[in-house]
Each structure stands twice: as C-alpha cells, then as structure tokens.
C-alpha cells in the first residue's frame, strides 16, 4: 500500500511537470497575454509593465523562472486581479466550488440511487419508463438549458429561490440541482442496469425463496453487487462535478474556481490560468488514486499494483 502511494506520488510530480510545460508553451503560443487591453499605452509604459511581469525576458528564461517558483509552491500574483496571489484565489474559490459540488453530488447520488432501484424493481412498468425517460432527458440537456428552465420556473413564475448569488442556503438549491441533474440521471441508469443484473442472479432467487422481504433482499444482498458500477463511476463524476461547474457558476454568479479558470484563460491571466490548471491536475490525480483504493476495499478481487 505504501509502495503504491509512493509510486503514485512520483508519477504525480512527473504529470505536474508535463502539464506545466504544456500549459506554459500553449499560453506562449496564444495571442495576447496579461497586457491585453483595447487601448494601447505609451511604449515606455508597456516596457515597464513587461518588466514587472518578467515578460521582457526570453521565453525559455521565463519558463525556468516560473518552474522554479511553482516548484517552491509560489504561483505568483494574478495579473487581472492584481491584489491577490493565485494561492489566495484558489483558497477562496475552491471551497465554494467544493460546497456546490458536494451538494450536487449528494443530490445526484440520492436521487439517482432511489430512481435507479425503483426502476429496476418495477422494471417494465410505468414508473420505470417515466424515470428512465426523465433520466435520458437529464443526460441529453446541457446544464445551461436546465438552468434557464429552472430560473424561469422557480425564480420568475413561482418565486421560490433567488436568481443568483452566494451567501445563503436558498441560493444553492437551483445551482446544486442544475449541476447535479445530469449525474443523477446517469447514476439512475447505472443503478438500474446493475440492479437488474444482480436481481436475476441465482442467490437472489434463493433469498426470495427463503421468504425474505423485498427491502431486505435489496439492502442485504442486491445493493452491494449492484452498486459496483456506480462506485466506479463516482470517481470521474466527482472530478467532473468539481471541474465542470463553470457554466453553472457563471449563470448563478457563484464565486467558485470554475469561473476563475475560464476567465483566467480568456483574459490572458497567465499565473492564474497556470495555477488553476495545476491545482485541477493534483485534484483529479488524487481523486483517481482514492477511487483505486476504494475499489480494493469494495472488491477484494482488485489488487493495488
């Protein structure tokens, strides 16, 4: 186990270096940069700005300076939000994204599991058809469409929730739902398939023949086997929810990391774009490692190698 973690750590460092290098040169290749502005300033002012951001140095020298700083954990100052370091921006933005993602995840898991199990148990009946149609729609609709419909319904027609913002529980309901909906739909379908597989197994028939009640069969015997596909989906789902919240964050004006990521790239805020990219790399990598470990716990056949 410790050997496994150590190997993973080494690979993480290598991955970070590759991601850093690729990101750095891609940003170099992209037109514009931190000094982008629709008004051009006096050449001397431009020179002063370039010097301030080290842009007056040749690219390879900038690369080495940046690499050294990043290796020391210093991601520098954001150029478009000059009062903050990149570390501050991430430290403030990530908990927001995480809280939103967590709610979306809790919603996706609970709604998805309940719907999936119900559909599997009542296979072929009206409930099953209705739930699975809803799930298909949920997967097919992009979340900005869902968000638009939800805002129309629950902000304007039936004013239950605020239109946007961050700072109270009621402001999280709509974005949490919009972010979680596609995942809930996907989990519902996975659960249904997994449960159907298990419910047809001999040991379930045996349990039923013993006279166990339906809830008992599902909870004690079917759930464990039926949930394996869901668990393996959760790893990527968590990363996708955490990194994919940018559209929802933008629509609901939520100050999370997703918005920073997009804006940094659009505005040519090199340090922030780099910092968030590296942060996401670490995040995805760690989550994948956790999922691998969870497999080993849940399914003894999987060995960590």
């Amino acid at each position: 186990m410790i050997g496994f973690l150590l190997r993973r750590l080494v690979w993480l460092v290598l991955t970070l270096w590759v991601v850093f290098t690729a990101t750095f040169w891609l940003m170099q290749a992209a037109p514009g940069g931190p000094l982008n502005s629709d008004r051009k300033f006096d050449p001397v002012v431009e020179q002063n700005l370039k010097r301030r951001f080290n842009l007056d140095k040749p690219p390879w020298e900038q690369y080495l300076i940046e690499l050294g700083n990043v290796a020391r954990g210093d991601l520098g100052y954001s150029t478009k939000m000059a009062d903050f370091t990149v570390n501050q921006v991430i430290a403030e933005g990530f908990p927001v994204s995480a809280a939103l993602g967590l709610l979306a995840l809790v919603f996706a898991i609970s709604a998805g599991l309940v719907a999936g199990i119900a559909a599997a148990v009542m296979r072929g009946r009206g409930v099953d058809v209705a739930l699975m149609s809803a799930a298909t729609v949920g997967i097919a609709l992009p979340n900005f469409v869902i968000a638009g419909i939800m805002i129309l319904l629950f902000v304007f027609i039936w004013p239950l929730f605020p239109a946007a913002g961050w700072g109270s529980a009621s402001q999280l309901v709509l974005p949490g739902f919009c972010l979680g909906a596609p995942y809930a739909a996907y989990i519902a379908r996975l659960t249904r398939t997994g449960m159907l597989d298990v419910l047809n197994q001999d040991y379930i028939r045996t349990a039923r023949a013993k006279g166990l009640s339906l809830p008992a069969i599902i909870y004690r015997h079917a759930l464990r086997g039926g949930l394996l596909p869901v668990v393996s989906y959760l790893g990527p789902a968590v990363t996708n929810i955490l990194t994919g919240s940018l559209v929802v964050e933008q629509i609901f004006a939520i100050p999370g990391l997703g918005v920073h990521f997009v804006q940094a790239a659009l505005q040519g805020d090199y340090p922030l774009a780099m910092g968030v990219t590296l942060f996401y790399t670490v995040l995805i990598y760690s989550l994948n490692t956790i999922v691998d470990i969870a497999y080993g716990v849940l399914d003894p056949r999987v060995r960590l190698a």
Binding site: P31, G32, G33, N36, S37, D38, R39, K40, F41, D42, P43, V44, V45, E46, Q47, N48, L49, K50, R52, D56, K57, P58, P59, Y77, K80, M81, A82, D83, F84, Q88, V89, E92, G93, A99, L102, L103, V106, I109, V155, F156, P159, P162, A163, A164, G165, W166, G167, S168, A169, L172, R220, Q250, I251, F252, A253, P255, H260, Q263, L266, G268
Partner: protein, 633 residues
Amino acid sequence: MRLRQNWFPVVVLIAMAVGTAWALSFAALPPADFTFVNGTEVESLDPAIVTGQPEGRIINALFEGLTNWDPRDLHPTPGVAERWEISDDGRVYTFYLRESARWSDGTPVTADDFVYSWRRMLDPMTAARYAYQGWYIANGRKYTYGGTLLEPGDPVEIELADRPDGALPHARGRVLRGRLIEKIPLAGKDSAAQEAVDEHDVPPAPAMAYLVEIDGQQRLFQSTGELLEGAQRCEQVLLDFGQVGVKAIDDHTLRVTLENRTPYFLQLTGFYTLFPVNRRCLETHGAPNWTRPENLVSNGAFNLGFRRIRDRIRMVRSDTYWNRDAVQLNIVDALAVESDITAFNLYMTGAVDWIPNVPATVISTLIEQDRPDFQPAPAMTIYFYRLNTTRPPLDDPRVRRALALAINKEEICRRVTQAGEVPATSFVPPGLADYERAVGPEHNIAEARRLLAEAGFPNGQGFPRIDIMFNAVESHALIAQLIQSQWNDALGIRVATRQLEWGAYLNDQQHLKYWVGRAGWIGDYPDPNTFLDMFVTDGANNQTGWSNARYDELIQLSASEPDPQRRMAMLRKAEQILLDEMPIVPLYYYVSKDMVQPYVRGFYRNLQGVHPLDAISIDKAQREAFRSQARAL
C-alpha cells in the same frame, strides 16, 4: 462479515449528511442599503495602476481626489481641495486643502500625501498604465521615462539596489541625488531582451551606465548588465523628482505646475489616477497587500468592509470623511457578476438596485415598455471602424470615403443596437461643452460609387476581397454582417467577416494585420482632445497607419493654445481633416444602458456614466411600497 458488509453505506450516509451541513452553513450577512452590479471583478483597488470603469466605481467611493465631479454635469467641484487658484497663463494651480480632510485612520490628508502619491504613480516601477494622466504636470513624462530622456546636466535621483531580501514588492531602495554627467551605453548587454520583444514593439531603451556627480564626487551606476569597473548596482536612475511640477508649500497648500495650459486639468484631478494613497499604509504593508480590507487606509466617503473574490466588495460609510453628514448610504455592496443576463435577473427580482448594462436581447422589449427605470442617455463613447491605410487600395482616401459613404448607419442603429444609439456624423461624440463637432459624410451611395470608380474600381471591379475584423461579441458580428451586405449591394465589392477572440483581435489590430477593424473609444475626460489625440502619427492607439502632418500640428498647437475658443477651433479643424481623410469610419454614439430602481435618488445619467455613491440615497418608503407591490404580483 456482517460488519464489513454494512459499514460502507452507513459511512457514506454520514459523510453526505455532514458534507451537506457544511455546504449549507453560512454566516448571516447584514443586508446592504444599496447593491449594484459592477460587472467583472476589479483589477485592483490601487488607484495608480487601474484603468477600468468597474474599478472607478469602487475607488471613487473609497478615495477622494483634489476635486470631485458633479454627477449632474461633471463639472469639477471641491474635494480634498476646498478652493484653488489658477495663474494667468493657466499653467500653475495652487490647491488649498481643507483642514478637515482625514484618512480613515484619523490622520489629516496633507499636500505631502499628494506629492508622495503622484511620485509613486509616475515611478516606472509602479508601471501605471494611465501614467500619462500625470504627464500634464511639468516633467511628469520625463520622470516616468526613466533614463531614456535624461540628458547630461540633469539633476537625477538614483534608487540603490539595496532593498533587503524579501522586501515587499515595489518598496523603494535608498535614494541618492546628484547631477548626471554622462550616459555610457553598454554594448550588446541586452541582446536577449531584444530577441524577446515583438518585432512591432519599440525596442527597450539601450542599457546604460550613468556617471553622476554626488557631493562633488563622480560615481558610476548601473541597473542592468555586468558591472563596469567601479560601478555600483542601482534599481533605476530617474529625473530628480524635485524637477517635477508638484510641490507641497505647506501641509495644506499644493502647487502644481503644468507642462502646458490644460483646460481640463481640474477634471483630471478628480480622476482616480491622481487620487492620494496613504504612505504609511503602503510602506507598512507593501503592494498589493495594502489594499486588503484589514490594511487599507483611504480618504473617501466609504471604507472597505470586506472583499470576496468574484463575489462582492462591501463598503461601509466612513466616519472620518469630512463630508460624512452628506453621505446617506451606510452599507453598499458591489457585486461582481460577469453575465448581463444574470445581472438582469437579479435586477428584475429586486435583489440589486442598479445594473450598468442590460442584455442585448431585452433592449427592444424594454424600449417598447417605455420603462421609467430604463432611460438610455448619450454617453461619451464612439463605435467606429478602423481602416488599415497601409494596405492598398485602402491607402487611397477616395476608397476610404467611398466605403464610409456606402454605410447606412441609421439601419445599424435601428436593426442591431436598438437602444436609441445615434448614427455618428463625427468622431467626437456630442455633448462636450463649447465644442462644435466637425461634420463627416452622410449616407450617399451614388457619391460612393463615383468615388470608387474614380479610384479605379468602377462597380467594384478589380477591388480586392477585404474583410471586417471584430472580437467575438454577437452585436459586433451582426453589425459586421450588415455592413458586409451594404458594401456588397452598394459598391459591388466582396467582403468577408473575420471573428477573433479578444487577444487575437487586439494583436491583429495593433500590428495592422487587418483590412477593416471594429473599435470603440470611451473618453477619459470631457474634452475633444481625449478622442482626437489618438490619431497623431504613430500614436499608440492610432493603429490605422494613417499620418497627416497638418493634423499632428493642429493637435500639438492646441495643447499650448491659451485661448479656449481658438483651441476648440483648432481641434475642430483637426477633426475635419480626420473626417475628410477617413482613416476611421464613425458608426454610432453609444448610449448608457443603466437600469435603476425607481426608489433610488441622486442618480444622474451623465456623459461618462459616473455615479458617485455618496450622492445616492434610497427613498425607503417608496422602496417598501415597491417591494410589497412586487410581492403581490
């Protein structure tokens, strides 16, 4: 076995419950009296380094300059300075600071604060984009230019490279003063830096060593490259700041000497670039940490409460501001909301009191409804097309004129922009006091065809395929497509449209890699010069390759012309040249698109969209009535 079988769901359930509880736990925030949408997150709260409008809204509330702008008509009113005197030649301003002006830590605002702040703003190390706002002051430009403009005999200040390790960014090293004897070029030291800069940019100043006489001794200083023998390392060599036209006569008297008579100088002192910053605060915490809410010391009507990145900036009424009794709002929230649609939703649900912009899709509906809270008003902003005069056949003024004449601007305003924008006949927008605008060509297809034929392209034959470049915004695309078809129909020329991302668009425009490019310009101060000085030869914002000696001359002469009327006449002549030669095609004048709730008082729609928060108040009774009415609906 049983334990192992069942712990997993239980743990997951508990984790989900705890997580949900954490995610939903918020500390309750006292509600603000006034909440507005401020667009994007501000770049900084440091008045010296920012350039944008969102920044201006916050900084104007936190800080105060020598003068303020009256929100009704933008004329300068007393700020930190309670009165001023202007010398007969218009070049020397004496400001008398009010004794009651205070920083938020209770200390008085003094003339030294302005000297300190303006020096800092002009310092090359501060890298202020709007440094030119300080270049109206005598020798301001020379100071910012550092070594480049220094000549032997100039008094200089040398900032030594003795900042301690780990010094706060932009702290100053020890400063020596002396007289420059000689600039010694350092050969080949900067080849690497030369490589790095873009071929179109001005190369950096050649590396120099500076021989300076200090107290009768000659000493050599160098900021870059390997040290010559006997040379000492320094950060930079600048003109002695004593040469720059700003002096503190005493604690409450500030004398400012200008390069030229500048009729709009009192407007400039009310613009944030020339606002004072608190020296002790800056030197204690360093940049940019001094702008943090727990550190910031400011002198305006509001203090900084807290900041949440890309969420909100909370401002609280200052109890040290000299005019605090006139300030009505206690708590103000500025929300960073990027999306116009989200902002509009917030406004329509009553969550915010003011949005400075509305989504393009709702404009026609709002106009139809004739809402009292949406009254577009003229703005000091122009939408125009640049023509690249370095690319034939656009180098021919007849061709440029033909293109301009063939555009139906009225159709653009009616079909695309829809908020009551006015088709532009001049480059300088209307509404500037004492300025009569020059007149450009009207829509005239017959004349356009004639000119194009005269230039050698009858019915557009032989005319190369040109394109219209714009940044990716829907309304820009619609306008470009409309003009594309207008040109095609009227002149028979083939035109493409080219949509680019912001960075690529700026890059191509600055480097003249375009045929026709979309552009906009917001005036910085209410004077035609803010528009016209763009197009002097090689001006940084010219970006058309156009050059006209008479135009340059008129702009230059107008800067030092003492008679206001003659000065305006010169500027008008210059504008007429611009409109005859047509390196640009003005399309329409913008209108402001603010929406303000009906219970807000003290909000005036002015040319520059400046809405000081200290003038705003809320009619609470009307707000209650409004809200209960909204609930009933």
